[in-house]
């Protein structure tokens, strides 16, 4: 529980966008509601432990570490969560919708699909590096690894998998970038649709 909520939100504000992007990408393949559950749980843990944060300059890595560990436990609970609701022990109001309004592009959908093929640790490592901009040393601490080499090889493996999957998808899609631009936008809830279905929809739209 944070004694000074004002201080907490003040520290959070500059890192808010990165934290949201990281959370959403981390929960790739999950519904926005499920991703918000992870985020809500992360906020609760952060609020409860904010008093124990002695060095406020480490707020960013501290908060991302909380999101990461919450995500790990959510992955473990993901199967059982279908049957049992996540109970924080108190009647906490549901956090406002953050991810539902996020616009889904074709590129984002492909990346989500690719990310969902990675293991939780690989996904977290690549996103901490690419999206949140953490150094390998920082990721080592966030992921509670003993050496940087573990993170380096994890990043390498994650990149290789992503490249492979994305290339396959790029080759598969009948894209016409000159007509639609590189970021052909899809509106609506298309995240859980297959890539094949998207391409069919695009073809129909062009006709």
């Amino acid at each position: 529980m944070a004694k000074d909520t004002g201080k907490f939100t003040e520290l959070l504000k500059p890192h808010y966008n990165d934290a949201m992007r990281y959370s959403r990408a981390l929960c790739a393949g999950w519904s926005p509601d499920e991703a918000e559950d992870v985020l809500q749980q992360s906020f609760l843990i952060a609020l409860e432990n904010f008093e124990n944060l002695n060095d406020i300059s480490k707020f960013r890595s501290w908060f991302f570490k909380i999101i990461t560990t919450t995500f790990y436990s959510a992955v473990r609970k993901h199967f059982w969560k279908k049957f049992l609701p996540m109970d924080s022990g108190v009647n906490i109001p549901k956090m406002p919708q953050v991810f539902n309004c996020a616009e889904q592009t074709e590129s984002r959908i492909i990346l989500n699909q690719a990310l969902s093929k990675l293991s939780a640790k690989e996904r977290s490592a690549i996103l901490l590096f690419e999206i949140a901009g953490f150094s390998i040393e920082e990721i080592t601490r966030i992921q509670k690894e003993k050496s940087t080499s573990a993170v380096k090889s994890r990043l390498s493996r994650a990149r290789a998998k992503l490249r492979k999957y994305i290339t396959e998808q790029e080759n598969f899609l009948p894209r016409n970038e000159s007509q639609n631009g590189s970021n052909g936008e899809f509106k609506g809830d298309l995240e859980n649709e297959t890539i094949k279905l998207i391409s069919e929809i695009r073809t129909d739209e062009q006709r």
Partner: protein, 324 residues
């Protein structure tokens, strides 16, 4: 055909660029619009967490105190365990209690009084008694000794039966003795024996029905105390406890009466004490009040009513409670 190193490198760079483009797009996502709502939620949530933590702290403090006390050193822990064991052992220690199973009337009648046996047999209550007779000679006179065992009879009933027997005439001696027996039971059971609880759901019952039900429960436990219920215009039921003039306590009994009435609950605890009349002899009202208040400090002077009738002194305690 095998690709050249340059071509492979170029392909790799191309793939990296594609991947970078995907990540760059994620980096362009803007969630800042949702920050005020999330900030507001954080404030609200933190208040709730604070309340929860205060509750937890209070519980923890109580537990911590107990932990500190018990686990401060091994000797104290050992003493606590031994004390607990002693308490349990003491509660289960068997104690002997004397209980009255009934009354025995023994009377002697001259043997030549042949009518007595017939007159006695005509008494209605004698059918429930066990009667035995023996011939006896006392001071040169032939006497018949009758032993009448009255199971479950109270001393009061036995005295009344004795009076009826005396009215038949011709009795030389009559004696009433209680039929006692010893019971062994654990200490806790002995302590609870003089205290019992009655639970009544009076919802939808009339005043008379509640009165009858209470009376029935009390009689089952050998208590003759009259309760009177009266429903006021506001729908609230007043409870009056009446003490009859001939109400003599056979033994001290304590009980509680729990009445549920249209979602309202009333708990009455009644303690009765068999007083020694000699104890009150020669005492002034003030001294008697002091005696009563020593045992019940919650009572006020106005609650203790003392009635004097010659040498007889009767002490009544009347407490009026207003229901909130």
């Amino acid at each position: 055909m095998k690709q050249s190193n340059l071509s492979q490198k170029s392909e790799q760079m191309n793939k990296d660029k594609i991947l970078e483009n995907h990540f760059n797009e994620v980096k362009l996502e803007d969630y800042s619009e949702s920050f005020p709502a999330v900030e507001n939620w954080i404030y609200k949530t933190n208040i709730q967490l604070k309340n929860k933590q205060n509750e937890n702290k209070q519980n923890e403090r109580k537990l911590q105190k107990m932990k500190n006390f018990l686990f401060a050193n091994k000797l104290r822990l050992a003493y606590s365990i031994v004390t607990l064991a002693v308490i349990i052992a003491t509660c289960n220690m068997p104690v002997t209690q004397t209980e009255t199973a009934g009354q025995v009337i023994t009377l002697t009648v001259p043997t030549n009084n042949t009518d007595f046996a017939a007159k006695m047999s005509a008494l209605p209550w004698i059918k429930n008694a066990q009667v035995s007779s023996n011939g006896n000679t006392e001071e040169g006179l032939n006497q018949t000794l009758y032993t009448i065992i009255l199971p479950d009879a109270t001393q009061e009933q036995a005295v009344n039966y004795g009076k009826e027997l005396e009215s038949l005439g011709g009795i030389t001696t009559i004696k009433i003795t209680p039929l006692d027996y010893d019971v062994k039971r654990p200490l806790y059971s002995a302590a609870l024996d003089h205290f019992f609880s009655i639970k009544i759901d009076a919802t939808g019952m009339s005043d008379q029905e509640v009165e009858q039900l209470v009376q029935k429960h009390l009689k089952k436990h050998g208590i003759d105390m009259k309760f009177h219920f009266k429903t006021g215009p506001d729908g609230k039921r007043d409870i009056f406890i009446e003490k009859t003039e001939d109400d003599k306590l056979k033994e001290a009994r304590n009980f509680e009466l729990n009445i549920d009435d249209n979602n309202g609950k009333e708990k009455i605890k009644i303690f009765t004490k068999k007083a020694d009349p000699e104890q009150l002899k020669g005492k002034t009202d003030e001294e008697i009040r002091k005696m009563v208040k020593q045992e019940h400090p919650e009572l006020q002077d106005k609650d203790i009513k003392i009635e004097r009738n010659g040498d007889k002194v009767q002490v009544k305690v009347e407490v009026e409670r207003n229901q909130k």
